[in-house]
């Protein structure tokens, strides 16, 4: 279900799927239970989608976003209309993938991308709720939650982006001797990573 059908090597798809599932599980069983002030928790799945899109481009970003969103829609404690997260994450993955072309040149792009992604995704998700007449997404509640949610997302973003980059990078490094095709993308974004971190 989570395998992204595309041209890049299968190993990377599997890795993407594993990263997404890990993020989902961490989200529901760890992050959502953190007793943070305000009761709002950072959205690790969103941040993972953004990070994957920044590394792999917009096609991977949008497919990964759709799959992650659909999984977030049906993972047990979820109780909203199915497809809302799929829609939002798919769009965010695509847009952040487009921003990844700029990434090699400017070192601040990832952080802006994450912050903007968090803001847009939270607002968009709330907007879908309002369109559907969801009582949970009434205006008062949205204005209470959204600022805090964006703040937490931005605060958590360096860690998540770093973790995703690190996992994918280690995988690429391990894969390099056996596969020739993965050398080029690995080198290209690793140089980007070096300048950023």
């Amino acid at each position: 279900m989570l395998n992204t059908p595309e041209v890049s090597p299968a190993g990377r798809n599997v890795l993407t799927a594993v990263v997404i599932v890990a993020a989902l599980i961490l989200q529901v069983s760890v992050a959502n239970r953190l007793p943070l002030p305000g009761g709002v928790t950072p959205d690790l799945v969103l941040l993972t989608v953004v990070a994957l899109a920044l590394v792999n481009g917009s096609l991977t970003g949008l497919v990964a976003g759709f799959c992650a969103g659909l999984a977030a829609d049906i993972i047990p404690p979820a109780d909203h209309t199915i497809g809302r997260y799929a829609l939002v994450y798919c769009l965010i993955g695509h847009v952040c993938g487009l921003a990844s072309d700029e990434m090699d040149r400017q070192s601040l792009v990832p952080f802006f991308a994450v912050a903007a992604g968090a803001l847009v995704a939270t607002v968009l998700y709330a907007a879908t709720g309002m369109l559907l007449g969801d009582p949970r997404a009434s205006w008062t509640i949205v204005t209470r939650i959204v600022p805090l949610q964006v703040l937490y997302d931005v605060m958590a973003s360096p860690f998540v982006v770093w973790a995703v980059l690190r996992v994918t990078r280690r995988f690429e490094r391990g894969e390099r001797p056996s596969r020739d095709r993965s050398v080029v993308p690995a080198a290209s974004y690793r140089s980007g990573v070096g300048t950023r971190l």
Partner: protein, 332 residues
């Protein structure tokens, strides 16, 4: 990316699929064909969540363990891991003690009310705007949708969806949750609604809102609420403590007063809960409520003992009428 046409095609396709999913699920409501997907989600992710809860719970900061670089310093690594394991054992045993204590209290309150319960642990929680948790009992343990969930302190919520080994609980603080409830020691009934405990503002302290059905009935700060009990005891069994009225607002131009309720259950740190699998045979009334904080103000029983209202000194039965032990008259 080179092939932007392809990317756009895929984007358009997936967006259409997502919109279609939303439409189908929204129009279908509770009987939508996509609820089966949720079942698949529960079957697939439920065991994973259980496992991860078992692994993740004692550690707390798993990130260290994940990012821990293996390689040159094997010995340090091994020692650290051993240390970690021992620490985990310590922490786990402390957690177990804590849980055993909670379970004891839970069984105590279940015994008081005569509820038959299935004990469960919370293994994951929802995000976004919904206030839901997953617990680690499912249809294999006899849990069905629309069952009451309580903790040792009071009402938690109700089961909305059941997987083989997990169940999703809608917390009472969720905005879509409505619980029929009753003021203690009077028969006045009303509805407790969730108002969401997330975000800025005062939702954290009083995440519940209570409105009496009878707008003129008396209600005061400090009164406590228990569940009224639904028809056929689904979804809510009677007599489960809910919370204490913290303040009462009367909006301008509105007849109805709104009371803000502080729940007995601590929703931020839910751990051991119980699903009421069989309701009590008789309504426990206020029996499950914790002992009153201050024992004085029970001097105004709404049911004045039999007959003469203000007459405090009848010659013959002065003693018995002083104590309002009139169970039949206050019963119904």
């Amino acid at each position: 990316m080179k092939d932007t046409r392809r990317t756009r095609l895929v984007l358009g396709l997936l967006l259409v699929v997502a919109l279609a999913l939303i439409t189908v699920d929204y129009r279908g409501g509770e009987s939508s064909p996509l609820r089966g997907l949720r079942g698949v989600g529960a079957t697939v992710f439920g065991p994973v969540e259980r496992a991860s809860a078992a692994v993740v719970r004692p550690i707390g900061n798993t990130f260290d363990a994940f990012t821990d670089a293996p390689g040159e310093r094997r010995r340090a690594d091994r020692l650290e891991r051993e240390n970690q394991r021992l620490r985990e054992q310590l922490r786990a045993s402390r957690l177990d003690q804590n849980r055993a204590a909670q379970l004891d209290r839970l069984l105590g309150s279940a015994g008081m009310g005569g509820y038959k319960i299935a004990a469960a642990k919370v293994i994951s929680a929802g995000q976004g705007f919904e206030d839901t948790v997953t617990i680690d009992v499912g249809s294999r343990s006899g849990v069905r949708p629309e069952m009451t969930v309580m903790s040792a302190d009071g009402l938690v919520g109700r089961v909305v969806r059941v997987g083989p080994a997990t169940a999703t609980v809608l917390l009472a603080t969720d905005v879509t949750s409505q619980v029929g409830s009753r003021l203690e020691d009077s028969q006045e009934i009303g509805i407790v609604q969730g108002r969401g405990r997330r975000g800025l503002g005062d939702g954290g302290g009083t995440p519940l809102r209570f409105q009496l059905l009878n707008a003129t009935a008396p209600m005061k700060v400090g009164q406590r609420l228990v569940t009224l009990g639904s028809q056929a005891e689904r979804p809510y069994v009677p007599g489960v403590p809910i919370g204490v009225i913290e303040r009462i607002d009367q909006p301008v131009g509105d007849l109805n007063r709104i009371a803000y309720v502080r729940p007995f259950t601590k929703f931020t740190s839910l751990d051991v809960v119980a699903v009421v699998v069989a309701p009590p045979k008789a309504d426990p009334r206020d029996a499950v409520l914790p002992p009153k904080p201050k024992p004085t103000p029970s001097a105004t029983p709404s049911a004045t003992p039999s007959g003469k209202p203000g007459d405090r000194k009848p010659a013959g039965d002065g003693k018995p009428s002083k104590k309002p032990s009139t169970k039949p008259s206050s019963g119904d």
